[in-house]
Subunit: 201 residues, 2 copies
DNA sequence: GTCTATAGGCAGATAGAC
DNA sequence: GTCTATCTGCCTATAGAC
């Protein structure tokens, strides 16, 4: 990966973010240093400070980029035009693909470290979850209106459970190194939302 | 709290563990130092090293004590003699009470930091989750056999979803500082497991 | 935009007095 | 069991040459 990163394009700032992102997702924001990134990219720590003056600034850039990319993925799911169950499945797959690289969700990791984060990063983090819940709530509501999904109470509350459960499933599946653990949990979670074929008695 | 800690009993090792535990649950294992504990207890870093020679050793003692205490709580729930739904509710309350102190589950926090942990701590961490899942699986199975709980598939898989969902709900509720967020999630989760009153048609 | 060099501080850890 | 004193090393960050 070290050589691959050096081979091609991408301005240095992007490559720094790529490495930093991986480090945060694997170890946490408080468990990596500028030296780690510099070594990986074959540049000096001073060069890093040119692009991101402080670690707090780097953290802000990380979460901004991650949130934007995630929002883009949700837009892509919408554009694909599937029904509500299909969208939920696609949503869970976003998490699965992160876990595939043996990474925790960047925002789930930062949520654990919340108390140690710069204030700006904190609020961006909450916005990330708000956006996810908002998108999910719409999907859930539309699925309920077509009769494809079945649940009781506010869609927003159910959306929160979905986000929390997927984050939790990642959190625990990762130490076990067991993708199947996550998949079983996600499958069960979604199965509980899909309307059962009503066999009229 | 600093003064309270100094007022009473408990050998120093226990007081060290108390402070360290709080710090890990609030910030993470990689975001506190011996200096933090020493300052809180009014002793020196050197004194800390007498009780726990290395930070890895301290981490091991922390997770050992936490796991033992949690196991004791499960035994207490069993001893109370409630039915399966009552036991599940009591289990969720264990998490709620941790969150009440604005703390993350110690093991959930360590799960996020898994890649940075000493090997011994890693395996103890997995045992913690194994034990929780095992206890829950028994409760679920017994509840299903009495008809009070309803779910499909292996009880162990459902147990895993329960643990993951509760951990995830804590992870996200804590940044929001919103206990209600966790409670709603826990309520929904358990409601999905309780058998619906079957109105024979 | 990246470098060398270095500041200033805090990390985990140890030696040895009391 | 706790202390003072100290070590070594890494941390984030900066100054200034190229």
């Amino acid at each position: 990966m070290s050589s691959a990163a050096r081979t091609r394009d991408g301005n240095t700032a992007e490559r720094i973010l790529d490495v930093a992102e991986q480090l945060v997702q694997e170890r946490g924001f408080n468990a990596f240093s500028y030296a780690d990134i510099a070594a990986e990219l074959g540049i000096t720590k001073a060069a890093l400070h040119y692009h991101f003056a402080s670690k707090a600034e780097l953290g802000q850039a990380l979460i901004d980029r991650y949130a934007a990319r995630f929002a883009g993925a949700l837009t892509d799911i919408d554009a694909a035009g599937g029904d509500a169950p299909a969208r939920l499945h696609a949503y869970a797959d976003l998490y699965l693909n992160v876990l595939r690289d043996q990474r925790m969700c960047l925002c789930g990791m930062l949520a654990a470290e919340y108390r140690t984060l710069p204030e700006a990063v904190r609020s961006t983090l909450l916005e990330f979850f708000d956006d996810n819940e908002g998108w999910l709530a719409e999907v859930l509501e539309s699925g309920r209106s077509t009769g494809q999904l079945a649940f009781t109470g506010p869609a927003r509350d159910v959306a929160r459970v979905v986000v929390a459960s997927l984050e939790g499933a990642m959190l625990i599946a990762r130490p076990y190194g067991d993708l199947g653990r996550f998949q079983v949990a996600a499958t069960q979670l979604l199965a509980g939302l899909v309307a059962k074929a009503s066999s009229p008695s």
